[in-house]
């Protein structure tokens, strides 16, 4: 069993196989580290920085850092939680996140992280950027107001040849995730459904699918994000 290595998260002894990323290894050991851009089974990118942990005094993203033997990881500390909360706040002010009018409200991972870190108000000023909504495809509404550029749709929603339906467009502060017009017109309903499911926020919506769950019965109404993580 030389493949098994020991490490510690917040002083708790953990064990995993060599080569696993910290986020996966933590889950195996019943420890929740919040993520947004990361998805199980998809190559990690480390772009949202929500999963930041402290190792040896340095901040690293736990979705892209493999566990090493004897590693000591600081995750659920006041300093790290404050940093994560500030990232959530930055995401809220840099887009137009009108929760009361959003179809994904109650099932939104960004909102759930706001609840998790008890965000009463973002400490940063609201930007209110002017963004477009593209509803030209038959099954998908792509709302740029809510997009957090996590790339989850680009990495997971593909056709039989492995071509992505979504892609990055433009650069810098004009960067956005767009749905390819031609491919979007051919997209199946099942794939549209999956795209909506994989979007952590309400940026990708399946047409005729909004507000179909009663308030109180949605994913994060009563249970916090990560509360289902157990040993």
């Amino acid at each position: 069993m030389s493949n098994l290595i020991k490490f510690k998260i917040d002083g708790v002894e953990c064990m995993t196989e060599r080569g696993k990323f910290i986020v996966e290894a933590a889950l195996e050991n019943g420890i929740f580290i919040p993520t947004l851009c990361n998805m199980p089974g998809v190559k990690p990118k480390g772009s949202c920085r929500i999963c930041t942990v402290k190792i040896n005094g340095r901040l690293m993203t736990s979705c892209t850092t493999p566990v090493a033997d004897g590693m000591e990881i600081e995750s659920n500390s006041a300093e790290i939680n404050e940093l994560r909360k500030s990232i959530v706040e930055l995401l809220f002010v840099s887009g137009n996140h009108f929760c009361p009018a959003c179809e994904k409200s109650g099932n939104c991972e960004l909102q759930a992280l706001g609840y998790y870190y008890q965000m009463m108000v973002p400490r940063y000023p609201y930007e209110f950027p002017l963004r477009e909504v593209d509803a030209s495809s038959p099954h998908i509404i792509k709302d740029q107001n809510r997009c957090i550029l996590c790339k989850r749709c680009i990495k997971t929603i593909k056709d039989e040849e492995g071509k992505s339906f979504f892609a990055f467009h433009d650069r810098g502060h004009r960067l956005e995730v767009v749905l390819d017009k031609e491919m979007g017109s051919q997209m199946s309903e099942a794939l549209a459904e999956e795209a909506m499911k994989n979007c952590p926020v309400g940026s990708i919506l399946k047409k005729e699918k909004g507000f179909n769950q009663a308030i109180g019965s949605r994913k994060f109404d009563k249970k916090a994000i990560g509360s289902d993580v157990k040993l």
């Binding site: 137009n96 009108f98 009361p100 409200s105 109650g106 909102q111 008890q118 108000v121 109404d221 249970k223």
Partner: protein, 182 residues
């Protein structure tokens, strides 16, 4: 000791947050024992008649009158609370942020699909009307706000717990179910 005094107002809001205050149900009888209301739509007192301890603000600032009322609340209240998403981030009225006012007014009064009887293309221009601001502002971008209670509307239990905590000085309970953004 005299009772703490509360004032409330609705700026660019829908009065849903005030409805949520009433949603504390029979605890409203306890509330009347605990506090006295001054300027508020609840008792219809229009102007401040004495210094107030807690001011509760519903709605953001979309016009000059909202700003004036908010500033008078800051002047007359020791503690100000932003109640609900509109006060905290502008809420649904802030959907117009980023769109020029002229375009908004044209859509509402001239080009909108439901406009039928405005043949001369007149837009509200009476001097008595408050001026629209360039965009809708969260309250804390106009004056200092001391506490924030999110929700659309904020849950009655959250409002009740916050008021009781402020009045009694006890720490506030914040169960998961009461902090919601919708």
């Amino acid at each position: 000791m005299s009772k703490p005094i509360i004032a409330t107002t609705s700026l660019a809001g829908c009065f849903g947050c005030h409805m949520s205050i009433l949603d504390i149900d029979e605890r409203i009888l306890q509330l009347i024992e605990l506090v006295e209301f001054n300027k508020s739509p609840v008792d219809d007192i229009k102007t401040f008649t004495k210094p107030v301890d807690i001011g509760i603000i519903e709605g953001g600032c979309c016009n000059s009158e909202n700003v004036e009322v908010l500033k008078s609340f800051r002047k007359n209240c020791k503690i100000l609370i932003s109640l609900g998403e509109c006060a905290i981030m502008g809420g649904l009225p802030a959907l117009r942020n980023g769109i020029p006012i002229e375009e908004c007014l044209h859509e509402a009064y001239i080009n909108g699909p439901t406009v039928q009887l405005n043949k001369t293309g007149i837009m509200p221009n009476d001097d008595e009307l408050p001026m629209l601001l360039d965009r809708v502002y969260p309250c804390h971008e106009i004056v200092k706000i001391d506490y924030f209670l999110p929700g659309c509307p904020p849950r009655a239990d959250l409002i009740w717990d916050a008021l009781v905590a402020l009045i009694t000085g006890d720490p506030m309970k914040l169960p998961y179910e009461v902090i919601k953004f919708d």
